[in-house]
Symmetry: C2
Subunit: 112 residues, 2 copies
């Protein structure tokens, strides 16, 4: 009756595209797993999202940059960040030597 | 500008009460960290919640029981379970030898 799974199962192989897997969708929120393999945002690219995103790094490592903050944030396992809606941000770096696994909880005005 | 923290920081010491820390509250959802030290639900006790709960075990191990399912679910790191509203459930066991760290995302009708 309960829906179950494991966040570290079926990780995409090294060299694969960044992978987004929806785990749960409910009114006003969406939970997804993201698997990165050294992915980073293209030069000059910023995420600018209509909904807030609470993100937790579960495995690996990454660096997030914010347009209005000169100090990037380095994330290790267990680190979480709340990214407000329209806070322009980018992935500056993710570990190229191991998969980086993120949990993202989007909430607010959720679009498809 | 981004709000940050680490889920494995400041864990309550062995022998402490089960600890609930609210990480985020937004309309229709609430995220909390739970730290258990061998805690389990009292005999005959069932959680019966008005809102659904998506729970992820991050560290340690635990066993969840559901009233309408004879098979308990053992959870290890990375395992997640969606517990529907009013699905009566209990913690049958959590690892007594190390902290068990959970992430719980409550959603739907959130009460205080």
């Amino acid at each position: 009756m309960a829906t179950t799974g494991n966040l570290f199962a079926d990780l995409s192989p090294r060299g694969a595209d960044e992978e987004f897997t929806q785990l749960l969708r409910a009114p006003g929120m969406r939970i997804e797993r993201i698997v990165s393999h050294g992915h980073k945002s293209p030069p000059g690219f910023w995420y600018d999202q209509d909904c807030a995103e609470w993100v937790l790094l579960l495995r690996g490592a990454a660096i997030l940059g914010f347009e209005d903050d000169p100090e990037p944030i380095r994330l290790e396992a267990g680190d979480h960040v709340l990214i407000p809606a329209h806070a322009r941000h980018r992935v500056e770096w993710s570990d190229p030597d191991r998969p980086t696994v993120w949990l993202a909880v989007h909430h607010g005005e959720i679009s498809d």
